[in-house]
């Protein structure tokens, strides 16, 4: 089981959009996939028409595999399930804080799912809290959308600093998101950033209104507009992410 977290310290950069689309593409490729919507705002749940409500809230997820399994919902797509968001996820930190090994609770919680899923995608809320630390311990890779501005360089530096301090963190997979190639600033950042951060993925997700369609259609772009430019960009992103995560197809 490979756990990939869509993570950024910033909001509105394209985490949920990426998590929903990549989870869909993984499932379409025949990988049993779970999308875990950790953000109380529930954008990922919304994309799959699933109400952001979990019985018992955060507490309902703790206390064993069976309880967790019962809260997973099937999506309308083959091989893709969802663990919906819940408002109580604002209090993840509190719930974890009380426990032993507070930084590896999420990992422990997810590990029994390995028998059922090839991939778990985590759609994370934008901050650096105890939940984020749990994500870093649990995930094999962090998918980090970067809007190509000088500020995003700073967020990436911060994230690096934080992870380096922690030692054995997940693999970093930053990618440029909401790219407007007509903007000189975007082009400059995209030229220079990979020099200091060679791990930046080659795929760029352009800024396209098609992204808004996902909110009206309430489905991943690749499912209803597979020939759109955005869908093509996500296919490319998925191919690159899968290669970096060493997914074996053969």
């Amino acid at each position: 089981m490979t756990i990939i977290a869509a993570f950024s310290i910033k909001g509105g950069v394209g985490k949920s959009t990426a998590a929903a689309n990549l989870a869909y593409l993984a499932a379409r490729a025949g990988k049993a996939t779970l999308l875990f919507d950790l953000d109380p705002q529930g954008a990922a749940s919304y994309f799959f028409r699933i109400r952001p409500k979990v019985k018992g809230g955060v507490e309902g997820l703790l206390g064993g595999e069976q309880r967790l399994q019962k809260r997973i919902k099937g999506s309308d797509f083959e091989n893709l399930d969802l663990l919906p968001a819940d408002l109580s996820y604002r209090h993840f930190d509190l719930a974890f804080d009380d426990m032993k090994k507070r930084r590896s609770r999420l990992r422990k919680m997810l590990s029994p799912l390995g028998a059922h899923y090839d991939f778990v995608f985590l759609d994370c809320p934008p901050n650096l809290t105890l939940l984020a630390e749990n994500v870093f311990r649990a995930a094999d890779a962090l998918l980090v959308p970067l809007i190509p501005t000088p500020l995003s360089v700073r967020t990436l530096e911060q994230l690096h600093a934080f992870l380096d301090e922690d030692g054995k963190g997940p693999k970093l997979l930053p990618f440029f998101s909401m790219v407007d190639a007509r903007k000189k600033l975007h082009r400059q950042v995209m030229d220079s950033l990979p020099r200091s951060f060679p791990e930046v993925l080659a795929t760029r997700i352009p800024y396209l209104v098609q992204a808004e369609w996902m909110a009206t259609q309430r489905a991943p772009i690749n499912s209803f507009a597979p020939r759109s430019r955005l869908a093509a960009a996500f296919e490319e992103l998925w191919a690159e992410v899968a290669a970096r995560c060493e997914v074996r197809w053969w």
Binding site: A29, F48, D76, Y117, W249
Partner: protein
């Protein structure tokens, strides 16, 4: 959770069903879809025994392999043609892990196929999220030996969605209470498997006996003066029988049969080789040879004699007690209820490590690197065998995501394989020409030796050309991005574990 299969009153359409369910909540009626699928199992039917359906489906978007055990537990992967023959050929993932758990690294055989149509009614909530789907399935089953299709009972299948199982149960209970409806103990696929003969092992045996009959039929028509395709067809049957026998458990009886089948392959191969070579030589003589007249006639005469001799050897073998015994033993082995193959639990069967495409590719690179016009044919031949295995493995079907890459990989292989196949033919021909030279020693019709020399020279020229071509093609094989990605994938997975 029990399967939720129902038998509706005759003539129940999806529209009627949608109306009925519409009274309970919001519904969406979808367009009808064709069902075209092949059911797979291990030869001893272990999947069916455990209530597992393994279904290779043809969909408008391509082929998929789907696993179902119980209504909720399903997973499917894109998998291109042909249907998988072996668990080890499947891509990594949950489906393969489940299969490995149930049948080990076993072979898969076709049990039955199902053709028909299905139409789905989705029950949705206010957000249009599917909470349950109910489909009307209408189909016929075919057994793999192509007997007449068997009409199956119409079925209504209630498919729960994870997290909303209660609703599915209520819907099924509600439908079962309606007049004329009843719950069904089995689904469409279970019925198909059962009614077409069920046990995959029995099917496999039935197919082998069919093939034995067909082989016998061709045997009667093998004649060096007649249609050379009869021998070819005979050998095709023989090859099929050999592979299928290998799928039956390795009981002593059938492995003895396997050895005898191998013998038959060798005897018939010699005659077939000469049929092919003679054809080829005639063409060369007619089209490229500058010598004419009596030399041609003498060479033809001698080769024909040689060919007839090989056919006589074959005819003797086919009339021999050994052949009769072989047929008897094969039929006995099919009748006998052999010991069951060892299952995955508590088995001492060594798990065959999955064939690795990367490993084969690396081997091919090792074998082919630096090969040039001066190297012996034997080395090319070894490479040919490796590439054959690699090709088989790639054809077994990568995940859809990589179908294009798989196709590219196959394309890079194909050119190479044609060259190596031709090279093999040339080396067989060279042996034949050497034999011819020895036979003709001391004979003196005009131009005879010149003609043989010319044939040899033509073959040599072809051989050189092929080996030179080889070097060029090998470069593209070695640098093929699609094939190299096999190595990267392997390095990746090693690093991961």
């Amino acid at each position: 959770m029990k399967p939720l299969e129902l038998i509706p009153p005759p003539g129940t359409s999806a529209d009627r069903l949608a109306d009925r369910l519409g009274a309970l909540g919001r519904v969406r009626l979808e367009a009808a879809r064709r069902i075209r699928s092949t059911l797979l199992d291990r030869a001893d039917g272990v999947l069916r025994e455990r209530g597992i359906t393994l279904e290779w489906q043809a969909t408008p978007e391509g082929h998929r392999l789907a696993w179902r055990d119980g209504p909720l537990n399903s997973v499917s992967i894109p998998l291109s043609a042909p249907p998988p023959r072996h668990v080890a050929h499947l891509p990594e993932g949950v489906l393969r892990r489940r299969l490995q758990h149930s049948v080990g690294h076993g072979d898969l055989v076709e049990v039955a196929s199902v053709r028909g149509s299905s139409r789905r009614v989705r029950l949705i909530d206010r957000e249009e999220k599917t909470l349950c789907s109910v489909s009307v399935e209408r189909a016929a089953a075919l057994s793999p030996n192509g007997a007449r299709p068997l009409r199956l009972e119409d079925r209504v299948r209630v498919v729960p969605v994870k997290g909303y199982e209660g609703l599915a149960r209520r819907i099924a209970a509600h439908l079962a209470e309606q007049p004329g409806w009843k719950a069904s103990p089995e689904g469409l696929y279970e019925e198909a498997a059962r009614r077409t003969g069920g046990d995959a092992r029995a099917r496999l045996k039935a197919r082998i006996s069919d093939l034995l009959r067909t082989m016998e039929h061709h045997r009667g028509a093998i004649d060096p003066r007649g249609d050379p395709e009869e021998l070819h067809d005979f050998r095709v049957c023989l090859r099929r029988i050999r592979t299928l026998f290998a799928q039956i458990e390795p009981s002593t009886a059938s492995s003895a049969v396997a050895l005898e089948l191998k013998w038959l392959g060798q005897v018939s191969g010699a005659a077939r080789d000469l049929d092919v070579q003679a054809e080829d030589l005639w063409r060369t003589l007619r089209e490229s040879c500058t010598h004419h007249g009596p030399a041609h006639a003498r060479i033809e005469e001698l080769i024909e004699e040689h060919r007839h001799e090989a056919h006589r050897g074959l005819a003797d073998a086919l009339a021999s007690r050994r052949y009769a015994r072989l047929l008897r033993a094969a039929r006995d082995a099919l009748r006998k209820e052999g010991p069951r193959p060892r299952g995955p639990d508590g088995d001492d069967a060594p798990a065959r490590p999955p064939l690795s495409a990367a490993k084969l590719y690396r081997k091919a690179l090792r074998q082919g690197r630096g090969l040039g016009p001066r190297d012996p044919d034997e080395r090319f031949h070894r490479l040919r065998k490796t590439l054959k295995k690699l090709r088989y493995l790639l054809e077994a079907g990568p995940a859809r995501e990589d179908a294009r890459r798989g196709d590219d990989a196959l394309k890079s292989l194909k050119g190479m394989q044609t060259i190596l196949g031709d090279l093999n033919d040339v080396s067989v021909q060279r042996e034949l020409l050497e034999w011819l030279r020895r036979e003709l020693e001391g004979e003196t019709p005009a131009g005879l030796h010149g003609c043989v020399d010319e044939l040899v020279a033509l073959a040599e020229e072809r051989r050189r050309a092929l080996k030179t071509d080889f070097a060029r093609h090998f470069g593209s094989l070695a640098s093929s991005a699609a094939l190299r990605s096999l190595l990267e994938a392997e390095r990746g997975s090693k690093a991961a574990s």
